[in-house]
């Protein structure tokens, strides 16, 4: 299973270009997409999901052009959009049955499949109630279940952990780890720790362009030696921020612990160099290019 995206551009109008000459090769495993708002992550996902057509460029899935032949990927696609909705008058079971019909999944095993998926996302007890009455997290879990109905080979999750509580997030990560052995999973999240835990490969995007696509540890290496911490008086924080790119602050007794980016040798006195995380690397890369 291989998805090859070459020179994809998506231009909505003369003023707005969501993606510019975007190229990436995606293999089996989990690809985490990181980028600030408006970086083009959702647009890229919509293009892969075939609901948005690129202005230029090609997308091939196992050698098949999915821009010209979108049904080739639709057969093996599971897609969880960022702002999806549901039919409020249907219950979970009916809704999944409906989505299954759209995906062309049927047969005697369908009922059992839906039961197991509902059980897997902890919605069995509520399966007979209209989805309109569900909480945000429950709707998100229905979204996850529908994505898995057809045993997809390509899974696209746009902000999948929104609305999930910490335990559900943990369970979702486990699920992704299980699924990743057999298929391509592309997921975007603003929660960098989610990507850090799940993704094998990370692609960082900004302004519709790909900044870097590499294994997670290679990306973290980019920020090695550039992340420092320092204890500061509260009153000095303002002037410090003008000199350095502050990543994080944490109150500690009557002082503030500041985590910041600096070139080696140019760090503030009394600073301690710390091990970079994916979040540090992400901020390091996007702020440099911002």
């Amino acid at each position: 299973m291989a998805l090859t995206i070459t020179n994809v551009t998506k231009q909505y109008n003369a003023q707005k270009t969501a993606l510019t000459n975007y190229s990436i090769d995606i293999d089996k495993g989990v690809l985490g997409l990181l980028g600030p708002n408006g970086a083009g992550k959702s647009t890229l996902m919509k293009i892969i999901a075939t609901i948005s057509k690129p202005s230029e460029g090609t997308l091939f899935l196992n050698g098949i052009d999915i821009v010209r032949n979108p049904d080739a990927i639709r057969k093996v696609l599971g897609y969880l959009p960022q702002d999806f909705g549901v039919y409020p008058n249907l219950n979970a079971y009916e809704f999944l049955e409906y989505i299954a019909a759209m995906k062309g999944v049927g047969g005697k095993g369908l009922r059992r499949r839906i039961d197991l998926l509902l059980e897997g996302v902890n919605l069995s007890a509520d399966a007979k109630r209209p989805i309109g009455s569900y909480s945000g997290g429950m709707k998100q879990r229905i979204g996850i279940a529908q994505a898995l109905l057809n045993d997809p080979q390509v899974l696209i999750f746009d902000e999948p952990t929104v609305g999930l509580d910490p335990e559900e997030r943990m369970r979702f990560r486990q699920l992704i780890a299980d699924l990743a052995q057999n298929c391509i999973i592309i997921l975007s999240s603003h929660i960098v720790s989610d990507i850090e835990t799940i993704a094998d490969q990370v692609a960082i995007m900004q302004d519709g362009k790909l900044l870097i696509h590499a294994p997670q540890h290679d990306i973290i290496k980019q920020a090695d030696g550039c992340i420092f911490e320092l204890l500061l008086d509260n009153s000095k924080l303002g002037s410090f921020k003008q000199q350095y790119k502050v990543i994080d602050t944490a109150r500690q007794a009557d002082q503030i612990r500041v985590r910041y980016i600096s070139s080696k040798g140019k760090e503030a006195p009394s600073s301690t160099q710390v091990t970079a995380t994916l979040e540090d690397a992400y901020l390091f890369l996007t702020q440099d290019n911002g």
Partner: protein, 525 residues
């Protein structure tokens, strides 16, 4: 007022920046053009016993002003009565509810926004009426006042009242749109009756929200005195009587009295009063009042949310083997199920009563009145048929599914057609029993037309409003026996086969247009 202005502006822009508003304007231009029929036309818009005024400024300006007032009073309500509903659906209402704005100011802003939308449409007909004067004119001088005053004293106050009633309808009848329509048209029917009922007295307009009694009085007096007739009143609307030859007279317009102008202000004041009273009962987006079902269930959702520890996650290994079935039957079944479940259950009692009645009452009555009304009562079902995906943001799934164009859209159309034909079944059976194939085919043709109109309008505009307004006007015209709108073939036609072919042709065009636009939409979300 400084706080209300931005709200009105935002609301107005939100409503007018849509395809449906553009289409509404296009229809308005066409209708405004039709208000003043050509001399050879077989219809009239102001019926006075075979008389009509020469096309001078007064006649063209006043007839156009009257027709704008009457037509916009009828369908304007449908166009604008969703301002609060929009705020509920988008949940902007929840933000509004937490701001210091008072109920009255909020509802007033909605009323004024409704009003400006209606005035925009009236403004278009005003401009078109001047254009039509020069097109149809027969050398009479152009007098601007004869165009301005009827709009100023008939349309402007009447539309203010309509805008207020739209707000009241939303406050008191909430999401029960069918009930709103029925209540409003009952009210309009009474008001229309008052126009001619008062024509024997010296009209002041006090009891007439449209103010049109003044003009009916003037025209009837003019005809009675000049032609020795005993005319009691005149009728407004698109009246098809097959007549194209009329006796003409020269009518120079009205003299406006201070009392009449005061009566207009009084009605506008009454409109404000309606908004104020509504504000006392406004739910202010308290979800229990705004949507009682939702609140109860949200509470239940919290109570029944299961602890995480009780489930074991998803393992692909234990899922039954996949069986693919790309037929559309399961989609048709679910779409039909959603169509039937949509709306209030009590409406099915009314549907059942009408359905049974169509077997019993004389065929003409069932065909002319009951069937069009029964089909119209399902207006929200039809209008949601293809718009619910976008409204509920489910289109991400359907557009990314396997062959959406070849499977989803046909399933939606088929489910709608099954329902519409099911509703028409009593007449189809009666027609078949009498071997009247024209009736059977016309009814099937018409039942399919309604579904395809809903599909095409829904796909084109992405919303329900335009179809609902159009379908209302269509039904109104059908029960008033306007031949050109006889989509169910209930009126005699010179060439029935040709008539059926025309409907079939329209259906075919609607299908092609719907598929073409949907094809684009599935790849450009």
């Amino acid at each position: 007022m400084q706080y209300i202005y931005p709200i009105i502006k935002a609301d107005y822009l939100q409503r007018t920046r849509s395809y449906s508003f553009l289409i509404t304007l296009a229809i308005t231009i066409f209708m405004a053009y039709s208000f003043i029929p050509a001399n050879s036309a077989n219809y009239t818009t102001l019926s006075a016993l075979g008389y009509k005024g020469v096309y001078n400024s007064a006649w063209v300006g006043y007839v156009s002003g009257i027709m704008t007032t009457v037509m916009l009073s009828i369908y304007g309500f449908l166009l604008v009565n969703s301002g609060i509903k929009k705020d509920i659906n988008t949940e902007v209402g929840l933000i509004v509810a937490t701001t210091p704005i008072t109920n009255f100011k909020y509802l007033l802003s909605k009323q004024l926004s409704n009003y400006i939308v209606l005035l925009t449409i009236a403004g278009i007909t005003f401009i078109v009426s001047i254009g039509v004067f020069f097109m149809r004119g027969t050398g009479y001088p152009f007098i601007l006042g004869n165009f301005i005053f009827p709009y100023l004293f008939f349309a402007v106050p009447a539309l203010f009242v309509v805008a207020s009633l739209a707000v009241a309808g939303e406050v008191f009848l909430g999401r029960r749109s069918i009930l709103q329509f029925i209540a409003y048209f009952f009210l309009v029917g009474i008001c229309m009756g008052l126009i001619n009922a008062k024509s024997d007295d010296q009209p002041t307009g006090i009891f007439d929200p449209f103010g049109l009694s003044l003009i009916t009085k003037s025209i009837t007096q003019h005809i009675n005195s000049h032609f020795n007739e005993d005319l009691k009143g005149v009728s407004f609307g698109f009246i098809f009587n097959g007549r194209s030859a009329y006796k003409t007279f020269t009518w120079e317009g009205l003299n406006w009295s201070a009392l009449f102008i005061f009566s207009r202000l009084l009605w506008m004041g009454l409109g404000l009063g309606v908004v104020y009273i509504s504000s006392l009962f406004f739910h202010r987006f308290d979800s229990k009042q705004a949507d009682p079902k939702r609140k109860t269930k949200e509470v239940a959702a919290i109570q029944t949310d299961q602890p995480i520890e009780q489930h074991a996650g998803i393992s692909r290994a234990v899922l039954p083997p996949l069986v693919f079935d790309y037929g559309i039957f399961p989609l048709v079944r679910t779409e039909l199920f959603m169509l039937i479940r949509q709306g209030k259950k009590w409406l099915w009692l009314v549907n059942a009563a009408l359905w049974v009645a169509m077997f019993i009452v004389p065929f003409n009555i069932a065909h002319n009145y009951l069937l069009p009304v029964l089909l119209f009562l399902q207006v929200t079902r039809w209008s949601e048929l293809v718009t619910k995906e976008k409204t509920n943001r489910v289109h991400y799934f359907s557009f990314a599914s396997y062959k959406p164009l070849q499977r989803m859209l046909p399933a939606q159309i088929l489910s709608g057609v099954l329902l519409s034909i099911g509703l028409s079944l009593p007449l189809i059976i009666r027609g078949a029993l009498t071997f009247n194939s024209d009736v059977v085919l016309s009814i099937i043709n018409g039942a399919v037309l309604i579904v395809l109109l809903a599909v095409a309008f829904g796909i084109l505009t992405g919303g329900k409003k335009l179809f609902e307004v159009f379908f209302f006007l269509l039904t109104y015209s059908v029960v008033n026996k306007v031949p050109v709108t006889d989509y169910l073939g209930s009126l005699p036609h010179q060439d029935m086969s040709f008539f059926m072919l025309v409907i079939l042709g329209i259906n075919t065009v609607l299908v092609i247009v719907s598929f073409m636009i949907r094809r684009y939409q599935t790849r450009h979300s």
